[in-house]
Amino acid sequence: MTQSTIESAQGSGVEGRTGRFGDRIFAGLSKGAGVLILVTLAGVALFLFREGYPGINVDPSEMDGSDTFIQYVGPLVFGTIFAALIALAIAAPLAIAVALFISHYAPRRVARTLGYLIDLLAAIPSVVFGIWGIRVLAPLLAQNVYPWLGDNASFIPLFSGSASTSGRTMLTAGMVLAVVILPIITAISREVFLQTPRLHEEASLALGATKWEMIRQAVIPYGRSGVISGAMLGLGRALGETMAVAIILSPSDGYFWSIITNQNSNTIASNIALKFPESSGLEVNRLIATGLVLFVITFGVNALARRVAAAGFSGADG
């Protein structure tokens, strides 16, 4: 490194060579980083697989619950994806709206303050959100919202069943997860919205678009793939979020569609956190195996995100 600095300081004569030298260093560094990531990932996968395998193949009668692994992990997978999707459904529109407000509507000072506050939100440990969820949000919703939903909207499967009085429901957990993933989606969306070329915005305005029409015509299509990537990052985060869910959700075994009752499918991460301290032997292996399943799901979501984002970029949506 010092070598290259000295060389480049020597002046223009050797610039070509120095450039190549610097290129080589940088290429080496980035290749190294890439390999490191791959090795780490492979290591984690290997560990999960080795430790989890005995838990997958175990004879159900040896376990207390007498479930096969599939029976055991199924509700957890359902709960994990369900909670994450609820969080995404709440957070994504909000994040996009806030990002648009920051990038195109708010006066500069307001925008900067708001952006700063949202970034700050990302720095708060999720366990704090979990505590806030159980102490503040859950009672609030249990008193004011869930009974009403239960009385008036129970024809929708999501709001059927007896409304929770503790508020430790899937919806509460989803809302807290939404708060957890809001900053990342907002930050990424804001960045891509800000990068919309002025040229395209002006093209739209010059055609007689109102501000909102311009945003729909130029800003959102341009930022689409970025927003999707952000949303998928958020989804990944929600899938793996542990403490907030573990604190809030009152879990039961099985598949539950209603999001306002005390009976909820647990999520994989939260289940591991709750069960791990009191597990031993094959139970531990089984928990690790569920971790492997979560790993695969997250991987799948990311792959999907990349596909969607790539499809968005090649343009021309009919």
Binding site: A203, L207, Q217, R224, G315
Partner: protein
């Protein structure tokens, strides 16, 4: 034009006249009358005291050294200037007798009547060629039958001399075209909404000579229907296409630009009144 097409056109015209009670688009246009126009960026006076009449259905060229405010002036003609934070104008610009800066006049409506083509081609990258052409129409009238849309696409692309080159790939992204084709696509997009006036800011500066000729030929065709104002650094181009030419100048950096003189293009290029003009058009300019 088929029935659906007719309906759309009438629809958009109705919407415009609703908001801006004045001369309907169908009557003979009156051109643009600019009086006493000062144009500011914040506190900086960029262009001062412009008085200018832009004749309808003709081509008016704006020439002058870099930084003298040609783009600024052009953008103030369809209220694109005020898109820049802090930018504002004083004075009046009459379109068919109506002040586009009058109280209660919606800039959005003005921009639908006065279209604009930019220096760098800027088709929407995520839209297909056809969707690019329809971009302005979609703002005007949301519901558009497939056949009406197809008609508008074909008519506008033909109008922009681009139809034959793209008719087989209308559903492909507009960003896949060459620079010259992209610029003509932008012209097609601008004329698809049938504006009265078309403003062009150095539309050929990013184009090769062949594409430039194509765009120039197009301008000459379009002037039978549209009032065209073009900014150009190319004297030959101004001489070739325009009917009248306005020469802008600036006394020094930080000073406002102003119109030195405006006259028939022939006169400006052969026998201008002002010495500064003749220096500029003959290339004796510093």
């Amino acid at each position: 034009m088929n029935d659906a097409d007719q309906t759309t056109t009438t629809g958009s015209v109705t919407r415009m006249t609703e908001q801006m009670t004045g001369v309907g688009a169908s009557e003979t246009p009156d051109g643009l009358r600019v009086s006493d126009l000062n144009i500011y960026y914040g506190d900086f006076l960029a262009v001062r005291k412009v008085d200018m009449t832009i004749e309808p259905r003709s081509i008016t060229a704006l020439i002058g050294p870099s930084g003298c405010g040609k783009s600024t002036f052009l953008r103030s003609l369809n209220r694109m200037h005020e898109v820049i934070p802090g930018a504002r104008v004083e004075g009046t610009v009459l379109l068919d007798g109506e002040d586009i800066y009058g109280p209660g006049v919606d800039p959005v409506i003005i921009r639908r009547k006065i279209g604009m083509v930019f220096q760098r081609p800027n088709p929407f990258p995520t839209m297909s060629i056809a969707e690019n052409v329809l971009a302005g129409i979609r703002l005007n009238s949301k519901r558009l039958s497939k056949s009406a849309a197809d008609d508008i696409v074909e008519k506008s692309l033909r109008g922009a001399n681009l139809w034959d080159e793209v008719k087989n790939r209308l559903d492909q992204p507009g960003s896949g075209l060459s620079g010259g084709q992209q610029q003509r696509l932008c012209i097609a997009r601008a004329i698809a909404v049938e504006p009265e006036v078309l403003l062009m800011d150095e539309p050929c500066s990013a184009l090769d000579p062949i594409s430039t000729m194509a765009v120039e030929a197009l301008m000459l065709e379009l002037k039978s229907e549209y009032t065209i104002v073009i900014v150009t650094h190319n004297m030959q181009q101004a001489a070739r296409v325009s009917d009248r030419t306005a020469f802008f100048n600036i006394d020094g950096t930080g000073q406002p630009g102003y119109v030195v003189e405006m006259d028939l293009t022939e006169k400006i290029f052969s026998n201008p009144t002002e010495k500064a003009t003749s220096d500029y058009v003959t290339g004796r300019f510093g």
